[in-house]
């Protein structure tokens, strides 16, 4: 990898992501404004204030996942056309994932803060996801809660971006028949076969085998925001390494 080529590669690839992210933020702002107006109208009929998780973070996760899927292939093609090697391309993608996570976190926390200010007087307080999960209090989130939320959302977005990238690479590297098998087989396996077999299997061993590690993970993350950050970073590393293994020898033509 040569740092000299990293800057133009990042500049070139991030432009599209930045544009998409800004469009996304603009759409979200429009939705949030509509939501505030609706909440304001509904507040007249409510006896006491309630808190709602802002849907910005969930929507942003979906957005980041889609960016992860789309970016790697498009960028790899453009960068190889301009004489950039695989390593530099992959490092560029990691930097883009980080920059996107940072951008959407900052935008998200600002929007959430402003939304909270706008909604706290109408009895429907919108709060960040981290606040809802980890805060012991009820009501308005403080500045430190927003910092905690940012600290949690950056690795989460990074993880989701890299998951999208990994899925994209898996599909890119798979031969055509296998793409169809995986595209159909995975949902069938997860939502039909496993629940069906699991419900008839003695002692629900199959479900237990799948659910138990998930429960452990949830328990670990629920213990504190720090654990959640560690888990997100650990998954990011796993997804990143797997993506690199698939990408480094991928034909681009």
């Amino acid at each position: 990898m040569n740092k000299h080529y990293l800057v133009p590669a990042f500049k070139s690839s991030f432009r599209g992501v930045l544009k998409s992210s800004l469009v996304f933020v603009a759409i979200m702002i429009a939705f949030i404004i509509i939501n505030i107006v609706i909440a304001g109208i509904a507040a007249n009929n409510m006896a006491s204030a309630k808190t709602t998780i802002s849907y910005f973070e969930f929507a942003a996760m979906v957005m980041v996942f889609v960016l992860g899927i789309c970016c790697i292939r498009e960028d790899a093609r453009l960068l190889i056309q301009h004489g950039v090697g695989r390593t530099t391309t992959f490092v560029t993608e990691i930097l883009i994932a980080l920059a996107t996570a940072l951008l959407l976190t900052i935008a998200g926390e600002i929007i959430l803060g402003l939304t909270q200010l706008a909604t706290q007087n109408i009895g429907n307080i919108e709060v960040p996801l981290a606040y809802q999960i980890y805060s012991q209090q009820y009501g308005i989130a403080s500045f430190s809660d927003y910092l905690l939320s940012a600290a949690l959302m950056i690795p989460t977005y990074l993880m989701v971006f890299l998951l999208g990238m990994l899925i994209s690479m898996i599909f890119y590297r798979l031969p055509k028949p296998w793409k169809i098998v995986v595209a159909i087989g995975l949902p069938v396996l997860c939502f039909i076969v496993i629940p069906f077999v699991g419900s008839y299997a003695s002692g629900d061993w199959l479900i237990t085998a799948i659910v138990y590690p998930l429960r452990l993970l949830v328990k670990f993350c629920a213990a504190g925001p720090g654990n959640c950050v560690v888990a997100a970073l650990a998954f990011s590393v796993i997804f990143g390494i797997c993506s690199w293994l698939l990408f480094r020898k991928a034909p681009i033509k």
Binding site: R77, L78, H82, G83, K253
Partner: protein
């Protein structure tokens, strides 16, 4: 200095696309990479530009390993049949991208060429016709000013007028800024006058790798009434022969006899396209 291919082998399933290829592309020269469909031309160019990887062997660019080497890869620009630009990208934006990666990219000249070809720079690349997509790629290729330029079917879909303009611009560019240009094409007759060095590939193997002049000086053509030609070629190494009506043309290896030709027979120089066709015919018959 130059591009060196060392023992390159590449398989696609059961097909051996490249079979232990050893080649040198020196600087600066115009190379013609010729071969039938499926000969391995594009595979070779894709391997040089790191788009695909060989099963074995290595590519050296200016004494550096090319594998995942940005410095080496940045010296090469490949124009391929496939479009690697994002769908929604506009032509002018693609020029900016090229300028972003190649410091020597000549934006003014690119825009001037776009005007000459009648290419609308505000259009999206994926909305361009096949011909104009080729023109767009050619303009980028002609202005990146990299030491090595790989052109894979550069004139795909171009009309005769635009093809002529491209060849003129290419020669102009080469005269002003000599570089190593590798042209892979099926339009041999059109590029024959440009090519200084010819490489002929077939089924992943190099059949010929020599200066074009040397290649063509190894034979001559004789044409005239079939009976006279038949008489003339007795005892000579005939590369190939074609009969049309009562007239016949034969390509003969070696030099013509220093004796005067019989009346009605005409001596001619071997041209690259004829040579190529004859060589392929010979290979076909050898295979049978």
């Amino acid at each position: 200095m130059g591009i060196e291919l060392k023992n390159i082998t590449k398989r696609f399933g059961d097909t051996l696309a490249l079979n232990n290829i050893n080649l040198n592309f020196d600087q600066p020269k115009i190379y013609g990479l010729l071969g039938n469909n499926g000969a391995g031309k594009t595979t070779m160019l894709n391997i040089i530009s790191n788009r695909i990887f060989p099963d074995s062997g290595e590519v050296i660019v200016d004494d550096e390993q090319a594998l995942d080497n940005d410095c080496a890869l940045n010296k090469i620009f490949m124009l391929s049949e496939k479009n690697l630009y994002p769908d929604g990208m506009k032509v002018e934006r693609a020029f900016e991208e090229a300028a972003n990666f190649y410091q020597n990219f000549q934006m003014d000249q690119a825009l001037e060429m776009a005007k000459q070809f009648g290419l609308k720079t505000r259009k999206k690349i994926n909305t361009l016709s096949t011909g104009y997509t080729s023109i767009f790629k050619l303009i980028v290729a002609l202005n990146v000013n990299t030491p090595y330029l790989l052109l894979d079917e550069p004139v795909l879909g171009l009309d005769a007028q635009h093809r002529d303009l491209f060849y003129k611009l290419l020669l102009e560019k080469y005269a002003n800024n000599p570089q190593t240009i590798i042209i892979s094409t099926h339009l041999i007759a059109e590029v024959a006058s440009l090519i200084e060095h010819t490489i002929i590939i077939r089924e992943g193997k190099i059949l010929r790798d020599m200066p074009s002049e040397e290649l063509l000086s190894g034979g001559y053509t004789i044409s005239g009434p079939a009976s006279l030609v038949n008489e003339y070629i007795i005892g000579k190494q005939v590369i190939t022969q074609n009969t049309l009506g009562g007239l016949k043309t034969a390509c003969i290896a070696g030099q013509p006899d220093p004796v005067p030709l019989p009346e009605n027979l005409e001596l001619g120089k071997l041209n690259l396209q004829d040579y190529f066709i004859q060589l392929m015919n010979k290979e076909d018959s050898d295979h049978e």
